[in-house]
């Protein structure tokens, strides 16, 4: 009989029933069981069908008395919380993957932007002497235009699609910021996101199967 009361106390503690209430219920139960025992009555005559399952008996009694404190997880469906967590982790992984791909050393090479300079218009009224001043002026003009494009592209904040020379080219900032390795940050986000999604999905399946088993039993 004492074992039954002890099991009930453990269940009340697990359910966070206030100690004063749990003490009162345990004392009443122990006194009733003791009296029944002294009269030769079985525990089932006191407890009814609850005699075979102390945890359910204790939980049912506490719930009916309204002494189980509400919890956040009880107010929000656990499944909804898990789905929200999976969505957040998926977004994290996607951001990480984007950073890893776009901030890789090849993609961020500055040559990509510098090659966008359009061909300088050739003057029509110059003759192409081998060492003439017109050729020198043309070369200077080409260099100036290329430099101007490079400066313009370098001033764009963050990744951007740039239209030039009849095509669209992806322009990326430098992968190595001051003190921050974007590639490393992306890798971390990707790993954390993928691992979190996998663990969340596994937990979701495990809790679903457990709920089905509980319902069957």
């Amino acid at each position: 009989m004492n074992q039954f009361v002890d099991e009930c106390r453990r269940e009340w503690k697990r359910l966070r029933v206030p100690d004063a209430v749990a003490d009162e219920m345990a004392a009443d139960l122990a006194a009733d069981l003791k009296e029944a025992e002294s009269e030769g009555a079985s525990g089932e005559e006191v407890l009814g069908g609850g005699a075979s399952d102390p945890r359910s008996f204790a939980a049912s009694w506490a719930a009916e008395r309204g002494v189980i404190p509400p919890r956040l997880t009880a107010r929000l469906p656990r499944r909804s919380l898990m789905l929200a967590a999976i969505a957040a982790l998926t977004i994290t992984a996607a951001i990480g993957a984007a950073l890893v791909i776009f901030a890789s050393p090849d993609a961020s090479a500055p040559t990509t932007a510098i090659r966008l300079s359009p061909p300088a218009p050739y003057p029509t009224n110059v003759s192409f002497d081998k060492d003439g001043p017109a050729r020198a002026a043309l070369a200077t003009r080409e260099a100036e235009l290329a430099h101007a494009h490079a400066v313009l592209l370098a001033q764009l904040p963050g990744p951007a699609l740039v239209q030039a020379n009849g095509g669209i080219v992806l322009r990326l900032p430098q992968a190595h910021g001051p003190g921050v390795e974007i590639h490393t940050v992306g890798s971390i986000l990707l790993i954390v996101g993928i691992a979190g999604v996998i663990l969340s999905v596994l937990f979701l399946f495990w809790s679903s199967s457990r709920r089905v088993d509980t319902a069957r039993s």
Binding site: E24, M25, A27, D28, L29, A31, D32, K34, E35, A36, S42, E44, E45, V46, L47, G48, G49, G50, A51, F57, S60, W61, A62, A63, E64, R65, G66
Partner: protein
């Protein structure tokens, strides 16, 4: 065997719907603690062996204000929690008994005919 199990299940369901009224009726007679109520029910032929426990029901009655409680020493034992019907509980008992009788009469009106045909 299956017929017996079905009969027990029906008895459980019927008792489940009326056990709270029975507890209220018992404490209207006079204050009682948990096991004392069980003994009063048993003295009238109502055993809860194999049925739901009275303690969760008492908890619900207390939460809904249908019973008042107080602690008092029992006969030679430790102080016990006594239950007695509140005014609200007395009104709920009266309403519940009316509902029970109406339901019982309606069921009797149907099942009484069946009994007359089975027993020539």
């Amino acid at each position: 065997m299956q017929r017996m199990a079905s009969s027990e299940g029906r008895r459980s369901q019927l008792l489940r719907g009326a056990l709270d009224l029975c507890l209220l009726a018992v404490v209207v007679e006079g204050p009682a603690y948990g096991y004392e109520m069980t003994k009063r029910l048993r003295a009238r032929g109502l055993s809860i062996v194999g049925e739901g426990s009275i303690y969760p029901l008492l908890g619900r009655l207390e939460r809904e204000g249908l019973v008042d409680t107080y602690r008092a020493p029992s006969n030679g034992g430790p102080p016990r929690k006594y239950y007695r019907a509140s005014r609200k509980g007395q009104r709920a008992l009266a309403a519940g008994v009316s509902e029970w009788r109406a339901a019982r009469d309606a069921v009797d009106a149907v099942l009484g005919l069946v009994e007359a045909e089975v027993q020539p």
